[in-house]
């Protein structure tokens, strides 16, 4: 399986403009690609979750409230949690996510647990992992997601006394809501979210009893015959890189016009050449404009799969059995995968291992929905 180190578009913001200096990006990626190769051999193993992030508690607490706050969205109806529901591993349980009212998205909503550990964000990797607050900005302001406007968000927070109090606890008594800090607060909350530790983590650290035999067998296959570990490694079981597996388009994309609206609009926003002619999700190509990136998507992590189906960038598979079968068959047209020739028993063992990477999630209680307050007009 070749690594997509030539995916030169990563790092572009979603401006719809072509890269300002594409040769710089390409050169950078060539260098990064070369650097990555020697490290691969060492890192291509499953690793336990690292220690939790140290977050600024008042910022994270504000961010927690904002994460559930529908009034950050344009029409006051959608919060981050609308598509990233805590009980669903901070995903939405849909094959293709819904997005903002009046829209239908063309991709699957990813879960957000341990998002702080991701190298690239979004299925097409168009944001660096370090730019979590920037992704929050995109989600809150883009017409596909929450369609909010930053100054309206700020003024609405000013009009919600308990939120304003939380704001001032985080940023100082004289502070006023500012969108950049708002995005950072939500990002800080997200940094505080981690997958629960699993039996596998304990075993990897040598701290817990041996894993059940089927899981052990699955783990061996994962790192051996099935070769999963080549792309699914590290603490999140992802290489953070983009690959083409040939997953077929979700039929809803052709059937439901609003989803095609979202896809074609995405193409035009990204400045894709001949944007109106594409009828499928071109993946990283829309970001990099490099034709070899067509159909490439960033490797998802494999933790918490029990809560975050359906699977793949377009939710094409409802079950892990289907996902394993798809990989076993070498993927679809144009795939970088090769057939694995696994037995039924081996596939079952792999699924058992994948399942063992999930653990029950702690319940998350949403904060109360605060009413707007009035600001006394007596100052006139």
């Amino acid at each position: 399986m070749s690594l997509s180190a030539s995916s030169g578009g990563f790092g572009l913001s979603r401006t719809g403009r072509p890269p300002a200096r594409p040769w710089v990006m390409r050169a950078m990626w060539c260098v990064l690609g070369l650097l990555a190769l020697p490290g691969m051999a060492q890192e291509a193993r499953v690793q336990p979750l690292p220690a939790p992030a140290v977050v600024r508690p008042q910022l994270a607490e504000l961010g927690r409230h904002l994460f559930f706050e529908t009034r950050l969205s344009g029409d006051g109806s959608r919060s981050c949690a609308s598509c990233h529901a805590p009980a669903k591993g901070f995903a939405d349980g849909q094959a293709l996510s819904r997005g903002y009212n009046g829209t239908e998205h063309f991709r699957n909503a990813p879960g957000l647990l341990s998002v702080r550990l991701k190298d690239r964000l979004m299925w097409d990797g168009r944001h660096a992992g370090a730019n979590l607050a920037g992704v929050v900005r995109e989600m809150l302001t883009d017409g596909q997601f929450m369609n909010g406007e930053t100054r309206i968000m700020e003024e609405r927070i000013r009009q919600i006394p308990p939120l304003l109090a939380l704001w001032r606890r985080a940023f100082g008594d004289a502070s006023e809501p500012r969108s950049e800090q708002l995005f950072e607060s939500i990002a800080e909350y997200l940094r505080s979210l981690d997958f629960p530790a699993t039996l596998v983590d304990g075993a990897l650290r040598g701290e817990s009893a041996a894993l059940p035999p089927a899981v052990q067998e699955g783990q061996r296959l994962f790192s051996g015959k099935a070769g999963c570990v080549a792309c699914h490694h590290g603490p999140l079981l992802t290489d953070g890189k983009a690959h083409r597996l040939g997953v077929s388009e979700h039929p809803a994309l052709q059937r439901e016009p609003l989803r095609m609206v979202s896809l074609l609009r995405h193409h035009t926003e990204m400045g894709l050449p001949n944007a109106m002619a594409e009828r499928g999700d071109v993946g990283v190509y829309a970001v990099s404009k490099n034709p070899s990136d067509r159909g490439r998507f960033v490797t998802p992590g494999l933790r918490g799969l029990a809560q975050t189906g359906p699977y793949m960038h377009n939710g094409r598979y409802d079950s892990l059995d289907q996902v394993v079968e798809f990989h076993d068959g070498g993927g679809g047209p144009g795939s970088e995968l090769r057939p694995l020739n696994l037995s039924v028993h081996e596939r079952q063992a792999l699924v058992a291992f994948l399942r063992s990477l999930s653990a029950p999630l702690a319940a998350v209680t949403p904060p109360p929905a605060y009413d707007y307050g009035l600001i006394d007009g007596a100052r006139r």
């Binding site: 719809g16 009034r71 969205s73 344009g74 029409d75 006051g76 109806s77 903002y100 009212n101 009046g102 829209t103 883009d142 017409g143 596909q144 369609n147 909010g148 406007e149 100054r151 309206i152 003024e155 609405r156 000013r158 009009q159 006023e176 052709q254 059937r255 439901e256 016009p257 609003l258 095609m260 609206v261 979202s262 074609l264 609009r265 035009t268 926003e269 109106m276 002619a277 009828r279 707007y372 307050g373 009035l374 600001i375 007009g377 100052r379 006139r380």
Partner: protein, 377 residues
């Protein structure tokens, strides 16, 4: 308001505060029948364009969440405005001003209460894309239009483009709006001007004499629109929702920020400064564009903030000489009208409206359909 004006003075934004007060007024143009609407050369009319514009005017897919069309706030049955004192705007909002009627907007050279826009094309775009009104992201809305085969065909026929382009949508809507004008044959006052002496009741004729004489309305409400398209501060009563509605308070602060009022000022602001936003002249604080008096029968409530519910309330307000304002127009003074005179004025004002409201049936909107695989709609 005074405190605010002081703040602006202190902020150093001030130049020549008193200059405009002494500006001499040209003799008022007499009231007249509206001419045919001037059609801009860059947006000629055609039957198909009007058809398209009418569809788009009613199509909520032009808004961010598909909830709000032009017609949501400009309701034909409410005089092409809305009976709410303050415009409802996009869901989750309540705006800070009364939304102006579309009726006869085609005749204005300055649109909006503070005269910030100058063409229907720009206004349509501005309204459907403003976050508090249509909140439509251009790329999303444009793509929705492209998945409506009937729109693809209409845009191609009217504008000659392969795919619908949003700027053409605003042109089509503006063209449609140029048809939403008073029909002189249906307006008693216009029939009277045309020689039908019986078109105005005796009360309305007495009201007309007051309008042009004792009451002094003609000073500002003149010409065919019964508007000088100028800007005046009347001291209209404060809209109570500025103090009772959280959404309106949000809207007021947001609007002030959008107009680049200095942050030190906007945070404490709870006023609409009107024409000032455009000119940055403190002497323009609290001034609003003189509205047309045509079709008033159908466009209640009144004033830039919808604070006056009936025409009688409006007449009473002017009879008192207006309210309090820092830049209040010297043309306002107590009028000393009798009850009968007030009733006569109202009778005349109503005679500036058509006998029946202008209604356009809500069209059935063409559906969005899947594209075929070859990329042809």
């Amino acid at each position: 308001m005074k405190r605010l004006a002081m703040a602006l003075l202190a902020a150093g934004v001030v130049f020549g505060a008193m200059l405009t007060l002494a500006k001499p007024h040209a003799p008022a143009a007499p009231l007249a029948t509206l001419p045919a609407v001037a059609i801009p050369t860059h947006n000629p009319m055609s039957a198909q364009k009007l058809h398209l514009g009418r569809l788009l005017f009613f199509d909520a897919r032009l808004s961010g969440d598909g909830s709000t069309s032009c017609a949501s706030c400009h309701v034909a049955q409410m005089g092409w405005t809305h009976s709410d004192p303050l415009a409802r705007g996009y869901p989750g909002h309540r705006l800070w001003r009364n939304n102006p009627t579309v009726l006869n907007a085609a005749h204005f050279t300055r649109l909006m209460w503070d005269g910030t826009l100058d063409s229907l094309e720009v206004q349509a775009r501005s309204a459907m894309q403003a976050p508090v009104e249509g909140n439509g992201k251009a790329s999303m809305v444009e793509m929705r239009l492209r998945l409506v085969p009937e729109y693809v065909a209409l845009f191609r026929e009217v504008f000659g483009t392969e795919w619908p382009q949003l700027d053409h949508a605003w042109q089509a809507i503006a063209a449609f709006e140029r048809t939403l004008v008073s029909d002189p044959l249906q307006v008693p006052f216009d029939r009277y001007l045309a020689g039908d002496g019986s078109a105005l009741t005796p009360a309305a004729r007495r009201g007309m004499a007051l309008f042009e004489g004792k009451a002094g309305c003609l000073q500002c409400h003149n010409g065919a629109l019964a508007s000088d398209q100028g800007f005046h501060a009347l001291g209209v009563p404060r809209q109570p929702q500025f103090d009772s509605s959280a959404l309106v308070q949000i809207a007021v602060r947001w609007q002030n920020r959008q107009r680049d009022v200095p942050s030190a000022v906007y945070r404490d602001i709870d006023e609409d400064l009107g024409r000032y936003y455009q000119t940055r002249e403190p002497a323009d604080i609290g001034k609003f564009r003189t509205p047309s008096l045509r079709e008033l029968k159908y466009t209640a409530p009144y004033m830039h903030n919808g604070a006056l519910a009936t025409l009688r309330d409006v007449v009473d307000f002017f009879d008192r000489g207006g309210g309090e304002a820092v830049n209040k127009s010297p043309q306002l003074r107590p009028l000393g009208l009798t009850e009968e005179e007030k009733n006569d004025l109202v009778a005349f004002l109503e005679a500036l409206s058509m006998d029946r409201p202008l209604i356009v049936a809500t069209p059935e909107l063409p559906p969005m359909l899947p594209l075929d695989k070859k990329g042809l709609p």
